[in-house]
Amino acid sequence: MSRDVNLEKKLRRRALILGLSKSFLSLLIFGKLFYLQILQKSKYGKLSDINRLKVKILYPERGTIFDFYDQPIASNKTDYQLSIFKDKKNLINKYILKLNGHIEFSKKDLQDIKVNLSEQDLSDFIIIKKSLTWNELEFLEFMKNKFPFLIITKERVRNYKNDLIFSHVLGYVGYKREIEKKKLSNLKYGISGIEKKLDSKLLGSDGWIKFETNSKGEIKKEIKKKNAIPGGNIKTFLIGEIQEKAYEEMKGISGAVVMIDCINGGVNCLVSSPSFNNNEFSDGVSVEKWNSLLDDKFNPLLNRCVAGLYSPGSTYKLIAALHAIENLNYNKNRKFFCSGHVKLGKRKFHCWKKEGHGEVNLFEAIKKSCDCYFYNLAKELKVDDLAEFSKIFSLGKSTGIDIPNELNGLMPDSLWKIKNRGEKWQKGETFNTVIGQGFMLSTPLQISVMTARIATGKKILPSVVYKNRKFEDLQINKNNLNFIKKSMYSVVNEINGTAFSSKLSGIQKMAGKTGTSQVRKISLEERERKDGVIKNEDLVYKLRDHSIFTCYAPFDKPKFAMTVVAEHMGSGSKVAAPIAKRVMQLALKKYL
């Protein structure tokens, strides 16, 4: 019996142990729940939000750039892009393999993915492929279930009306990779041209959208959104048709065409040739392509209009002559005999015309572009005064145009010579300067501004972006200006003028000045050899003279001032003037 009592006690004890252990297990659960739900609430709350909430950055649509007649020359196109959830980036390689054959990933695409992966960005998505084709979109739509965590987004990206024609003036857009820890890895900034200069206006500001997604990578709903604000539009003075015509005319020629409106200073045309494809650049150009452009001996990346430096050649004679009559009381009827050269000490200075022009006055010297006359003129003037006067016409200093990377050119004077060459100014150097050779360098834009200021007597300032402006007077005697203008008229319209062959056919008259920019020094031996100076055509391309022509029209009421530079194309009358004539004719016919 006692045994039964003992057993009973034992069984009761065991039931108690069982009950106690269950209580202990319950406490264990209680403890863990307390830990998870009370102590670690914020941690797990955050984790659950990270799971479901995905932020996508909304990129602003870049402002449109219009030409003077409100035709868009830089607008935007729709681009479908494929992105993957950032927290699923380990799927990228697998997906690329699986998508292969249906969606092509170029070397550049793979490179871009690498860059995107390394970048810290606020977005919860990583772009893995841009510019999806319709076939690719269709395939992805059809195979959606096989590729969770991929999303297709519709973006608006830069698109230029024309691949090549506006590239230098408008520039292009691209990423700024150098900015550390930037928030917006897919935002393109203006890299050159108008795009760079007016970037802040064109850019707009970004927004974001917060999605709720499920575990299968499907977007369930939109939680919150801040819209992107599109960039502002910009109107320019450029005239699409003139720009296109000028580009057409420059095909196969390295050089520049700049046209300025003489009334408002607007740049109607700014063509640099050869050009590059700014659409291709904006999409992101490959390293190979970039290197090949850098190595291109014709240097297509250089904007010759504002950064190409040329001796202005005989076009500068206009300023030398104006300086003489305006400031030195020079008698414009004074005559000199041109025998083909002028002696200064032991040195001989040659006229471009070997047999000489005979007896010429200042007017004829400009018309025929006689170098000897100007050598004689040079004997009477000081280079420092000439340099000072030239600055009024924006030579040797930048015009302040609203596109980046404009160069100052070079207007040499005695101080410059000492500073840069450590030598005193030589009289012979003044001889070279008055005919626009020697040290002097200017850009096609500067020559255009010079012409526009001669044509109007006003301080014309060039601007690509549309602005309403009035210009101050240059304070130069009207009679003197008229003398120069008339001589320019004779260059084009009189039979002995150097650009007579480029005379306009209609009622409107054009005034201009040819120039030949020497690239090499002609040696004494060469001049004295039997055949004379080597003909331009016989020289190596790189050593041939540049052909320059600057002009304005109509003569009686100046509207368009234009400069054409055709590199290594010989004398100004041969190549530059006919191009200018054709472009000017179009401008006068349709846009006067």
Partner: protein, 364 residues
Amino acid sequence: MSELIIKFKNLNWFFIFLVGFLSFVGLVMIYSATFGEESNILISHVYKIIFGFSLMILFGLVEIEFWKKNAYIFYFIGLVLLIIASFYGYLGKGARRWINFYGINFQPSEIMKIFLIVSLAKFFDEKKMHEPRDYLFLFVPLTLVVIPFILILIQPDLGTAMLILFVSVVIFFISGITFKFFGILGLLSLIITPYLWGGLKEYQKQRILTLFDPENDPLGSGYHIIQSQIAVGSGGTFGKGWTKGTQSHLDFLPEKHTDFIFSMLGEEFGFFGTISVVGLICLITYMAYYITGRFVHDNFNRIVGYGVITNFFFASFINMSMVIGILPIVGLPLPLVSYGGSSMLTYFIGFGIILSLDRKIKFN
């Protein structure tokens, strides 16, 4: 007839209310789990609750002697069904656990737990262990346990197999088997375990291994544990609100209407909700304990009572522990709350037995 009415009146209605409340919680959670989806799960669940509830009342009215008398027969039937299920059954989710019975999928391993409990109780009731040589007879109950255990393990259904083992150990313990015997048994299983481990499927091994380092492989087996803990933790004190759980409704939480229903409860009703359910389970367990504890002299009733309630409590404990990261994910539903017919019916039958025991005490 009037005898039946008296029996009916004598049922422990408070206990029935508690059980009913727990299944109501299940209904509420199943509603949320299927919210916004086209599915007949909710309706099916309602039918199962009604059917299970009726079964509980029915077995509450059946005398406990019915079980004692037929224990071994039931065990035999259960074993046959189990063999059919394990070898010829319907294959689903990589396991062979179901028998298709006139269009209804039925899981014999669940009901086998009840049959095993009553069989063990019958054995220990009849065999009193007094002499050391009596322990040789323990070969019989050990066999009763090991056969279904192995059959269920190879299905594979790790959760139910472990549960059967736990419940059996508790029955041995409650029957007064000496610690010496447990020592020998423990030693024996230590020797057998490596062989058992070798016999486990790779995914089962993986499930157990991830318990120790769930963060290591966030997209593999550990993913579910992490997501489940995030769901529970993010619920905070009062939860995100009914049907408002983001982890559950955006499918970060797997199997939200079955194994992980407690996580969804934690997410939508917070600490307040989880603690209430834990409390309810403890209260049901305590009441069943109280009832069972009064059978001092009747070994069968005592063992059946403790067995049934241990089955319920351990199943609840294992389910809740696995979804909050105390135990590995073994795949076991939360009694009366999770969706799933066979398991729910088994627990209802179990509570019917408790009701029957309670009635017997009142009658005495």
